[in-house]
């Protein structure tokens, strides 16, 4: 068999581990051949391929990013896009496709499957907001990077009298903020799922200043105040659809300074949260996802994606990924609230 592989959407530590596992088991155990498509769906759309064999995946396990490149190209939004992909897969003699990506990438995979393409999906989101899997790789790495940054802020919080704000990723779901904030002992955690009360936030800030320690506030980029309460919006989008600096973290700092008269400083972690070598958790999970995906292809069990349930890798329908966003449930946020103030 000849199997195509692509990675779509934002880069995420562990993508290379998935690719390596797919190729190592596919070539070594099953004797399959592989073709790499470059830059997500742009690859099969334009017929842009690269060599993908055991040699190509040597040494990539500990490396973040993706050797295949990535993009947000969406063939569904392109006139005749899906048809061109089908043609190109045929041209390159591709029998089956493994698509590694988030909601958008897997949504395209589902449509291709519905039109007869043999596809298996691997879920990917650094935000951990995909249903049908307990966790996704990349999330643990992002949480550790954010935690280490917040750990460092504690040093300053113990030495100076300033409110310290750390803005982390999470446009629609607060998982990174929740886990990094709990792990690093934040005094307040703000997530998109629960509009925050700026009066309450300033109360925590004031009460913390009464100790010899300064408050640390972790805020997801998508968090926002109760409507009308504060002149803060969620952050302007730039020309590429991303939140600009001057987002919620920075605006929160201005509001806290204005209300409490105490200095407030913001750190925006940005892209460093999705870069660098994956943690052990993400390398193992990504490797297991890759092994399970190639096994599904070998079993001819298409239209599925792999997922984690408890300690086991399972197969679920490709549409499970695109059903509903997995947001932070109230009882998890309440756990964190125990430590606020």
């Amino acid at each position: 068999m000849r199997i195509g592989v692509l990675t779509g959407g934002g880069d995420c530590p562990g993508l290379n581990a998935v690719i390596r596992a797919v190729v190592r088991k596919g070539a070594g155990v099953y004797g399959h051949e592989f073709v790499g498509f470059r830059d997500g769906w742009r690859g099969p759309l334009e017929g842009d391929t690269m060599t993908l064999d055991v040699q190509a995946v040597r040494g990539i396990l500990p490396r973040g990013g993706t050797i295949l490149g990535s993009s947000r190209t969406n063939p569904i939004k392109i006139e005749g896009g899906v048809e061109r992909i089908k043609e190109n897969l045929e041209t390159h003699g591709v029998d089956a496709l493994i698509a590694i990506g988030g909601e958008d990438t897997l949504g395209v995979a589902k449509q291709l499957f519905d039109r007869g393409v043999k596809v298996v999906g691997v879920p990917k989101t650094i935000d951990n907001d995909l249903n049908a899997t307990d966790y996704t790789f990349g999330f643990d790495t992002a949480v550790n990077i954010a935690m280490e940054a917040i750990d460092r802020l504690h040093t300053t919080a113990e030495s100076h009298h300033r409110a310290l704000i750390c803005e982390v990723m999470g446009r629609h779901a607060g998982w990174i903020a929740l886990h990094a904030g709990m792990a690093a002992g934040a005094n307040v955690i703000l997530i998109p799922e629960k509009p925050f009360d700026i009066d309450k936030v300033c109360e925590y800030v004031e009460s913390r200043f009464k100790t010899r320690y300064s408050p640390i506030i972790v805020v997801a980029e998508g968090a926002h105040p109760i409507e009308g309460q504060m002149a803060v919006q969620t952050g302007d989008l730039d020309a590429f659809g991303h939140v600009r600096l001057g987002g919620v973290g920075e605006r929160l700092a201005q509001e806290i300074e204005r209300r409490t008269g105490k200095e407030a400083r913001t750190t925006v972690l940005g892209h460093i949260q999705r870069g660098g070598t994956p943690t052990a958790y993400d390398r193992v999970l990504a490797t297991r996802f890759g092994l399970a995906a190639i096994t599904a292809v070998h079993d001819g069990d298409y239209g599925k994606m792999v997922g984690l349930q408890g300690t086991e890798i399972v197969r679920v329908g490709l549409d499970a990924a695109t059903a509903e966003l997995k947001t932070v449930p109230p009882h998890r946020y309440e756990e964190a609230e125990v430590f606020f103030g």
Copy 2:
């Protein structure tokens, strides 16, 4: 209520996070008081206590080890030990006890519960070999430390021609070796669950040497060869019941050198695997265990221990911990074998 807390057995990153969560929620939400018992069961046995309040747990979240100290003191093996503990608990006005520890510690907790003491347990084992919980805190940290060490060995493996052996913890279960070895791309992983075939190991070593890269072998301290096959024993025990250097890693090195004529070097990670700041995963898990334990006390649900199932914290019987050792199942080892050689 006045609640005693103790930590028993080997130290483990995350113990302090459990203690902090217990005290922060117990004091802050429920208004309970706490007393810390020093050095595991030695504390209540000898009535050795320390102050345990919100001030005492400040800043301990990121710190490995345990502020309460630990020991392997087992009151069951001491004439009248259990009775003395009951008396001392009464003397110190302790209404309930939270015992954080492994198989031994929780076994004592079970016996105390059977004799009427109100106990809740929190499972702890760096080896991840306790049943009734998907994972235990400390394990993820140990795996990451071992993975980073093995990552470093790759550098040497790419520059020199030597078999590199890394001996990691795991007397009875190979979880650390399996996860660290998979995460770091080991060429062979040896675990206690499956006696190894030294001929096969040397085959992998030889085949690897034919590339420009040197083989890296990860071996759990409790791994052993097929009976009679090799003059290697699992390692002498020292006066304190621990495996001495000159354990399986070192003996394996000698055997590989003898058989292949290639140099072999061993690194024994030892205690550094259980030290230092916990990973985010372990801090979050330990914190959630602590919250769940104090909630169980508050609910009066004694004789239970907390555990992780999927993404949720549950309560199971105290005896669930001491039932059977959770070893690496064959299908998990087979996943790793895909990458051998």
Copy 3:
């Protein structure tokens, strides 16, 4: 003897190591007593002290920040400030003072010395811009933190097509940008010492985009374009005299997007550069500074500060610190330019 110790200015990894070394050698070898003044010069100004003995410095070596607290209080700018300090030192029976800090703190120390106070200084600046010492502690830690962040950006640079900008500390001197940028393989490094040519920067960006890799630009917060060339200013100051987000990194991103039509993303590292545990280099240097400072006190050699020259710790005049800013010399920047583009 009874010796006062204080730490002034921004916090810096290694301050605690200095304090520990001063106390351990002063108490253990010379038999001196110590008194800690809180929050820099505010401590002796207001007579705010804390216990400072061997017990107080236990375990602080690996911890960032300062157990003494810090502030930017400048007694020279306060009517009668210097006199009040002299009185308070007498009141607390302080025979000599060790002042750990940057240009401002050591400037005050010099004035006190000129008025008869027995002072020894320890230089501190995370920016490495103090004369009279080859390096200052905290700098190496900041450079490593920045390097690791830029290392992580490389992952994204290999997977996506975006200009990535990393803004690091350095208002007046570009040392952190230079070293972190060289260490992490930046494609362009911009420092305050050399106004940048935005046309040239965009040329590097464009030429890099022609490879499969994206450009990474490291910019010191104090860097600025050639006059009149770009609508970018160095960043507004906030009410506390600090550069606001929306500083040079963010403005550079906007300018690059406007000129090249390529997406540009900025990460502002901010306070995480000065937090967390010090590197080995900084712990050793800080410890040696502390030992040398207490030895100078013991020798009665006041009005001096300690410094590093080559591999040895020397004593220089307190005014050496406040003479001239140590900026990046042209030949060091030219070394880095070899790797631009």
Copy 4:
């Protein structure tokens, strides 16, 4: 010009950074061509070469080890070895040679230079024991790795009652033990330069046990007791001339257990000290060494090696490296002794 490059001796973080700097400046600024010789002197001896151009050095800056491979092959000990190297250099059209290595490698370089070969040397030793340079790259990385390991041991030392021994590299010089031990707050540091008094060591151990903390002892692999005092030898050599496990650390543990009756545990860091990504310090130093070496070649200033003096890179004679070993001077060890016990 066509310039050969080789790396000899044990691998060392920063080697790749040197190679990259040599090639980037040599090709990019001077327009030279390069040829890589594999595995140290084995390369020119056997005419084993590899492509070495800008493409080959892409992405290697943060990677430990050496893309050229290394070996301990010494052509001087091989009949006609030096002549064969001269012939092979001619065959491959090599005009000049850059040799990166330690005492042995640079000794060969010196002999070749004496016979008319145009050579420039770059000093390399992870042990920091080469004269004629303040520091060598790789050392800072090794010290940080050892420090982090010892930091982790502190956790156990605070939780259990055991003497913890950490054996680090340093056969002839104790620099790594000294710096890592000082940085991590070791209670005793033992180095080859000063034979240790086992009675004194046990005194420190006993006195430390009287606190609630356990002693941590850092010992260089080449440290040894005062003659006749202890049944410990420096460790057997294996067939490859390396110290076997069961070296000084392990023997010290046995002796401490025997004398004090307290448990003692040893960690042998081994090869992980020389692996992995270099620190910022080592990357900058190695890069500057590389730049200076190719500049020396360009200047036609042969028979020299580059070195660090203070903050500047200088050129010294090739024989400066092989003159005398740079050991820890007494005043540096006395600094560390302040913290013993």
